[in-house]
Symmetry: C2
Subunit: 243 residues, 2 copies
């Protein structure tokens, strides 16, 4: 199956006619803060797509035709070595963008971890819009700077943290992004142990052992393989920071 990237677009807006009615992202939305007129222009160029878990959205090296934003679901980005070793560079969730690239080719592969809804912005049309809507360009720059900051944190993790610190960082970070607002302590993990390992620069065995160890220490509960309940976040954060 070819990647989604080159597939035909779906409808450009909901039947309701309300632009972005399908997307209640609030201030995380791509279009947040734009005038209704600018939103209309943005909606005019975007296409929406729903993809099932496991779909490859595009591959590293493919011509970078589109910028994507996630309205529901979860996506992982990764790079491969020739012998199959894999590094996942980011787990993305609603409100996140991906697909920005210089010189033509995507720098990584993007794959849906769960059933996912996407907004697709054709790069060619978006570039024209960016000239007309400076606010949009500012937003894109801000998002990219944020991504870069996250990448630098991840470099610190990959280069200098122990397995325990890596897993603790991962759980604390995921809680912060997915649960902090909602106030719950149970994290749903849309990714497999293999994904977590390839994100943290570990093996699945080490990830599993470390989680079991955290459970035995009373820091977390593991109701099933795809749920983690944070029992002692303070200690977890202390471990994450090397304390």
């Amino acid at each position: 199956m070819p990647p989604l990237d080159t597939a035909a677009e779906r409808d450009k807006s909901d039947a309701s006619g309300a632009p972005c009615a399908h997307c209640d992202m609030g201030e995380q939305a791509f279009c947040h803060g734009l005038s209704p007129e600018d939103v209309r222009r943005l909606v005019a160029i975007l296409g929406t797509a729903g993809v099932v878990a496991g779909t490859t959205i595009f591959r590293e090296g493919d011509p970078a035709l589109n910028l994507y934003s996630i309205s529901a679901g979860a996506v992982k980005l990764y790079k491969l070595l020739s012998d199959g070793r894999r590094q996942i560079t980011a787990f993305l969730f609603p409100g996140d963008y991906f697909g920005l690239s210089l010189q033509g080719g995507y720098a990584y592969t993007a794959e849906a971890m769960a059933d996912t809804s996407l907004c697709r912005f054709p790069r060619r049309k978006l570039d024209l819009l960016l000239d007309e809507i400076p606010k949009l360009e500012k937003r894109l720059l801000g998002a990219t700077i944020h991504e870069l900051t996250c990448a630098q944190d991840q470099m610190l993790l990959l280069g200098r943290k122990t397995a325990r610190e890596k897993v603790a960082s991962f759980l604390a970070g995921l809680w912060q992004r997915l649960c902090a607002k909602a106030g719950t302590s149970q994290i749903f993990l849309p990714m497999s142990r293999s994904d977590i390992a390839d994100y943290l620069g570990l093996t699945i065995e080490t990830v599993s052992r470390t989680l079991t160890s955290f459970k035995k220490e009373g820091l977390v509960s593991l109701p099933d393989a795809s749920h983690v309940v944070i029992r002692d976040r303070e200690t977890l954060v202390r471990i994450a920071e090397g304390g």
Copy 2:
């Protein structure tokens, strides 16, 4: 000694009066492709500074007041854990920028590895100019995307490459940046073994041992601690890519 970041600015232009006459960066320059009028406006807000090797330009967490571009010298960016473990996230050379940050604080510490000449753009004034010179904002976005791409490559290196592959990647990458154009095979290393180790997620002993091993295999020569001569770049690149 306080970081340079808050120090008073030097002269805004050379005595010659020619804007950016001190900076023959060609197409790598921040101002490349701008109209003379735009260059003038840019020069009007920048300050230049020369710093000696070892100078801390700013620290992680300091209020992010400035954006810097390097016109000569070399700079390293790094993040620290509370117990002193360090990850160098980038080595920067003439033409590179640093200091971009969201929400107020710098995300990393910046330190000159060699005597270095900098252009300093006060963030407040630069933000105003960005609104007026869209080309400049595009350039900044492009540079940030490039940084992000480099960061993703480095994540793959840190998470999934062996010590040999890491050191080979480092040498091949540095050659590409510093020597490819000039056509020389000798790389000057402005950074210490400790810096290289903290960039690659290794110890100085492993870096040293790996370099010695490359020397014994005839891949490089090591005339002195701060010079590497690439003798077999093809093999080095093959090792770097895990082949």
